[in-house]
């Protein structure tokens, strides 16, 4: 045989077959998250909020980063999950936390499916406006139906029974909340990771890159997009539901443009279409928000604005994208190396 690699040994083929394998740094976020639990027991409230935003950003990453659905209204599903869990608990219908989350995910998925069926026919400005209007519609509806949703004040004093009947949710020492959120995040992350490396996830990337060609090769583009949007909505519903459980209240802020913009900024800051962008982005965003608003409240908004402009103009891949470029520049040889024969 000559030195020519066979088809299965070709670098591109190897890269494809190894794409989904676990890399050495992938357990790192989880180790750090556990270390945070033991090192900063007094900042677990902050940690819980951070992990919830990571989960929310992952759900957006599926729709925006992988399928290329540009939405300004993702908080609609976060709020749907939060209100489902909140209303079920407030009126004593269902309070068990884990099944409550499933109910939240189901309601959010239903809304995602129904709105996706019609919204995803459109693209561009129309899609942007429709997602925005759908969210505004839900927010107005939640505001109007104050007999059920508490209106502007929201639902306060939701009581959630202990997890597995053992671990109390204590609002002052959110130890249970932190570990509970971390566990749910892990399950959802493994699901999302499996999904994006599956043939289904692959076809989503194809649709993002070239919709016309995917139509041409016979992929059911619309169906794929609706399914992806529904899954993404369900994950966002879980994030919203767990937010309601961890905070023991729900209000209109779960449905607003502020939250939708925040999650979009977090994802873009970290780098979209990368799964781990959600982790890096949420950490960077929350840390920046914390320090800059201590300096001067307006400094935070100014810093955020400058950051967004800089990302859009110079660093489209976010923090992870910049990191990848640096690594590539520092070790150019590694990428040219032939696989061992």
């Amino acid at each position: 045989m000559s030195a020519m690699p066979t088809l299965t040994e070709h670098p591109a083929a190897l890269a494809l077959t190894r794409r989904h394998r676990l890399r050495w740094w992938e357990p790192l976020p989880w180790v750090l998250a556990l270390a945070f639990y033991f090192l900063f027991p007094r900042h677990l409230g902050f940690g819980t909020e951070l992990l919830i935003m990571v989960l929310f950003a992952i759900s957006l990453d599926l729709a925006l980063g992988y399928a290329g659905i540009i939405t300004l209204g993702h908080a609609a599903f976060f709020g749907a999950g939060a209100y489902t869990v909140g209303m079920l608990a407030q009126y004593g219908i269902w309070t068990e936390p884990i099944t409550g989350l499933i109910a939240g995910a189901a309601v959010a998925a239903l809304i995602g499916f129904l709105s996706g069926l019609v919204l995803l026919r459109t693209t561009g400005l129309t899609l942007l406006m429709l997602t925005l209007c759908t969210m505004a519609l839900l927010e107005e509806a939640a505001n109007l139906g104050h007999d059920w949703t508490g209106g502007f004040d929201g639902l306060t004093g939701i009581t959630i029974p202990p997890l597995f009947g053992l671990f109390e949710f204590n609002p002052l020492f959110p130890k249970t909340q932190y570990l509970y959120v971390l566990g749910v995040l892990f399950v959802c992350f493994v699901f999302a990771r499996t999904l994006v490396y599956s043939p289904f996830g692959q076809s989503l990337t194809g649709i993002r890159e070239n919709t016309l060609r995917m139509h041409a090769v016979g992929a059911p583009v619309r169906t794929r997009l609706v399914v992806c949007y529904t899954i993404s909505a369900a994950l966002a519903g879980i994030a919203g539901g767990i937010w309601a459980q961890a905070n023991a209240y729900v209000n209109l802020s779960t449905l607003g443009l502020d939250r939708a913009a925040t999650v979009l900024i977090i994802l873009v800051l970290g780098g979209y279409g990368r799964l781990y962008g959600a982790f890096v982005g949420a950490l960077a965003y929350m840390a920046l928000a914390h320090f800059l608003s201590q300096v001067y409240p307006t400094a935070w908004q100014l810093g955020l604005g400058l950051l967004l402009v800089a990302i859009a103009l110079f660093a489209r891949g976010g923090i992870i994208g910049v990191g990848e470029t640096l690594v590539q520049r520092l070790r150019p040889k590694m990428y040219q190396k032939q696989p061992p024969s």
Binding site: L302, L308, V309, R316
Partner: protein, 290 residues
């Protein structure tokens, strides 16, 4: 008869709001139709213009009408500077990058105005001849609202003539229809877009100044009314002056009437209507289908 007068005053109030919507949104619509650029900082330019108008009246002691001119040209010049240095880099970028960039720009405007001018509302002082009531023959109505409606009608006629009857307007229409073809016919698209962008932002500034009396003017203005501006553009159809004008009037009057009769759920109705309309005609009422 009482009902008739009530009705007429409601329509007039709604029209004044609709005209302000039109003056602000027309630039957004044309830039969107021309370049497909999603400019979420358009509200920020309207706000900047409003501030220039109010502050130049207060500190330079000039009248309302000259201040409007200062606001128009000042905002147009600033926006053209932004267009040449920053916006132009993103014309070929995806929508997401444009959305992020312009949201970031809006945040920067909001933060800067909060720091340099202050977070409070800036009241506008109208000249005495625009205050008070105006006799319409069958009823009395606020002079200022009548003035705004008159200005709006003058602007729409002027814009329509400029769009349909001048060489420059023909170039814009050609570029909206088919940019590549227009470019290959020798139309300088970059220059065309710069001027249109500056003009559109100047119009937004006029709208910001004219509407400040009843919309208020504080640093949150840039995002508070953005959804309305976007709805008007989406409903009217990007790149169509007649579309923006009719959409503005419909939305303005609807919003005004609904706020009066259903103070709680009026906006819900507008959002629902927008969704239904966009599902029926994704390109808007007067937009060209792609």
């Amino acid at each position: 008869m009482i009902f008739g007068i009530d009705f007429a005053s409601m329509i007039l109030g709604g029209m004044a709001w609709g005209v302000v919507l039109f003056i602000v949104s027309v630039g957004l619509s044309v830039t969107m139709g021309l370049m497909g650029f999603v400019n979420l900082a358009h509200g920020a330019f309207a706000m900047l213009g409003g501030y220039i108008i109010v502050l130049s009246m207060r500190h330079l002691g000039i009248g309302f009408i000259p201040a409007l001119a200062v606001g128009f040209f000042g905002t147009a010049a600033i926006s053209m500077l932004f267009e040449r240095t920053l916006y132009s880099r993103l014309y070929k970028a995806g929508e997401l990058d444009q959305v992020l960039f312009t949201i970031g720009l809006a945040f920067i405007f909001i933060a800067s105005l909060t720091v340099f001018v202050g977070p409070e509302n800036q009241p506008v002082t109208l000249p005495p001849e625009l205050r008070g009531q105006f006799d319409l023959g069958f009823m009395q109505y606020r002079t200022y609202s009548i003035f705004i409606i008159a200005v709006g009608v003058a602007i729409v006629v002027g814009l329509w003539l400029g769009f349909e009857r001048t060489r420059f307007g023909a170039q814009i229409r050609a570029a909206v229809d088919n940019r590549r073809m227009a470019e290959s016919l020798g139309i300088n698209i970059d220059r065309l877009f710069s001027i249109t962008f500056g003009f559109g932002s100047g119009m937004a500034a006029l709208g910001g100044g004219l509407g400040a009396e009843f919309l208020g003017l504080d640093p949150q203005y840039a995002l508070k009314y953005l959804v309305f501006f976007l709805i008007v553009v989406a409903v009217g159809g990007a790149g169509s002056i007649v579309g923006v004008f009719s959409a503005s009037l419909i939305i303005g009057v609807l919003d005004f009437v609904l706020k009066k009769y259903v103070p709680q759920g009026g906006t819900l109705f507008i959002y629902a209507l927008t969704i239904l309309l966009l599902l029926w005609r994704p390109q808007g009422l007067f937009g060209k289908s792609t």
